[in-house]
């Protein structure tokens, strides 16, 4: 131990605030980065799961899109 007491360790001869701010920001940013990456990973994993659970065994979802007809769509005006 390079310090005589715990108080000395915190104060670090007056350099304490600088050192601790640096370490704090370092820990917060690195941990934040890890947490953010992990949550995004989980979210994407869940999205994938939803995609595959809704599709049937044939794998491709419902068949072909209907062909274009260009008939006018009725808009009701109640």
């Amino acid at each position: 131990m390079a310090f005589d007491s715990f108080t000395a360790f915190i104060l670090m001869d007056g350099h304490g605030p600088y050192v601790w701010v640096c370490y704090g920001v370092f820990v917060v940013l690195i941990a934040g980065m890890m947490l953010w990456s992990w949550r995004r990973h989980r979210a994407v994993l869940q999205a994938c799961r939803r995609v595959h659970e809704t599709t049937d065994e044939s794998g491709r979802g419902s068949a072909q899109p209907a062909p274009a007809t260009f008939t006018r769509v009725k808009v009701s005006q109640d």
Binding site: C22, F26, G59
Partner: protein, 248 residues
Amino acid sequence: MWQIFHKLGSPKWFFGIATRLMPWLLAGALALLAVGLVWGLAFAPKDYLQGNSYRIIFIHVPSAFLAQSVYIMMATAGVVTLVWRMKLADVFVKAVAPVGLVLTFLALFTGAVWGKPTWGTWWIWDARLTSMLILLFLYGGAIALDRAINDEKSAARAVAVLVLVGVVNIPIIKYSVEWWNTLHQPATFKLTEKPSMPAEMWVPLLLSVLGLYLLFGWLACLRMQTEILAREQRTRWVKEHVLARRAG
């Protein structure tokens, strides 16, 4: 040889390897970082010139070191993207660019805070800090370009070109910034330059550098896996993977 190369490039193969590798990377990273940082903070001797403020070195140097090597890794992956069109390289660049940005920011921030007790000011246009600031711009540019292009393949290739141009420029930038620095202020003593460092100082420094490398490895694996899942959503192996995990 060629086949091994292609196997290495297969996202599915990488996904499996990464899953097995990641616990080890994380455990190693946390252990090394904990030992390195606690040693550096509490047990390493006080520096006779800078006092206790020098203890910032144990996070400043690893961040700065890694920030630069991540950019070089990205450039290497960029070559692979452009020459061999390997999907995994595209994924790597996209996944690690934000990590590089954060590390560069950390190096800048810790450097600036360190400057206050050392030089008496929060910011000094010191050669190292200025180069770091430019590296931050380079990362920002690469990420902005990647976000601006909708098509994944085109984005990967455009970013690869940009990062390669950047990597050619980095030595030029470093050299010119150092020259500019000597022009504007006579050499003051530099933050991290030491004639000789006792073992009680450089061993914890080495440990934290290694620890941060492993942590980067873990982050890169995780983020690449995320990116691969998003891109290969529709493939059979992803389906098997996600459904198996729900069952298990």
